[in-house]
Amino acid sequence: MSALRVDIEGFGAWPPESAEGGVPPGDAGRPAARLLPPTERRRAPASVLLAVEVAAQAVAMSGRPADSLACVFASAYGDIGITDYLCATLAQAPDTLSPTRFHHSVHNAPAGYWTIATGCRAPSSAVCAGGASAGAGLLEASVLALAEQRPVLLVCSDVAGNGPLGEIVGCRSSLGCALVLAPPGSGRAMARLDLALSAAAPPAAGPDPAAGNPSAAALRLLALLTGQGGDAILAAGDRLALHVHMEKPE
């Protein structure tokens, strides 16, 4: 096992009650995503609003300038609603495809909107790892923070699906979580994370509080963060477990 130690300097969550690990009560409506200019907010798809909302919360809490943060956006599915539109339109009338919806379909749409809205020219990434997207995203962001000795914004989010694709992937809620991670020692830490990998099948997920949303795994971190700290195991791959130990300052 190799150990990584990073600080958490801020977090964000949507729906708001998920910050305590609560079960989101169905459709929580559109996140405000006030950081986006009004025109962008009207045009942006659900996946972008969700990611921007939680990212802005976390960055505000950290007190860091948004444009100073490298960012990693993890999402298992991207925007299922847009993909459903894309596939349905292609099947019926491909010539009528909306160019705006097409550019919203790229997996890095949230990263693009975020960096444009915040004027951030730091590296940005959009990643996924199926059901292990949250754990693999946490690993990628933590490695980036430590290897480059810079603060990193991590967003884990997935939106509710619809249409035939939504039925197949089974993601029936929208849920997002963001963390600002940094190398230890800045004096801004609200908690410290020790991470270690082990080559073992992660434990099977318990009863699923978030209706099939892969980003729900990140809620376990929020539960530790808003509680007393402690331990959790996240899937970082099919046969790879990410052990998380969180300590909060006295």
Binding site: S2, L97, H107, T115, V127, G130, L139, A236, G237
Partner: protein, 395 residues
Amino acid sequence: MLPLAIRACTLTSALGRGIDAHREALAGMRGGLRPNDISSAPLACWIGRVDGIEHEPLPAAHAAWDSRNNRLAWLGLRQDGFVGQVEAARERYGAARVALLLGTSTASIGATEEGYRRLENGRLPADLHRPRLHQPHSLAGFVAAALALRGPCLTVSTACSSSAKVFASAERLIRLGLADAAVVGGVDTLCDSVLFGFNALELVSPGPCRPFDARRDGISIGEAAGFALLERVETAPRAPRLVGWGESSDAYHMSTPHPDGIGAEAAIREALARAALEPAQVGYLNLHGTASRKNDDMEAALVSRLFPATTRASSTKGYTGHTLGAAGIVEAAIALLAIRDGLVPGNLGAEAPDPACGAQFAWRGEHRRIDVAMSNSFGFGGNNASLVFARGAAA
């Protein structure tokens, strides 16, 4: 950064299967584009299609992963002895110590599109009830299973920079000791989404693309699979090396690059700084060069601004088409080929070069020793990556 040995590398595109097929085509300036014969409805454009994917089924044990994208991945993995090299790395380090980092923009969405074309009572047909296929991790999920790798496994999907950024992620993982080796690469396949999507954005040329031509009028989309195996330099001192990477965001626009190339320049400068190299030390620069008006304007100015005429530069998208999420690995492999064989590919497709292009441009193929080669990948959403490769230790 930690320089890494490129222990193995392979590439399959419209130019053929394996590195040598690419060398032959590039040296002879023979492109692989053809009129579009793949979209489900007519669309007048040219494409870079890989022949024979339809006849390359997956091994029976992995049949649940079947899609055009995963077939191309499997076809690509079997070229240049790549699977054997990965098996050897797995033996050396253990399956949990070999990371897998792949870039893609399409993944298997072609299979999802097919499902929507033949819905059964409003649902995907029974044979496509395969949840793991209908998500962007389907490529890495399949390759992890096919190569029996159990280390850190991640899909990077940042449009056209995807399979360049995986080199940076791999270097960080190995530097921090979380893996001893990494399989990186990417696969994208032709499908309606990208053909009609880029067409809707009015970015697709009706003819074969003409990177850096004064009258260029858009991209030609291609498909490709490429992979590389990265390890610490001391394990393979003579192998070519990854010596630098740079990543940046434009913070400008979702579908057009910053006109002044601010993000692109930042990525190039960062990659050179990590490599501790000056621009003049770059022998060959493989450009993003999509043949869109705006990218090539920006990039031609950038080349003039940053590099001396001794740096030879070209786009190879006139050969392969723009392979989108696979473009990073395709052009990394071509940069490595330039070092291995002393081959500077000519910039195919530009009959009347844009006057903005400087003396750096290699309009015809050239043979010369290349010790340092660089590759640019600039994606949708203003997502930029540059990679620097260098010759390994002398024998």
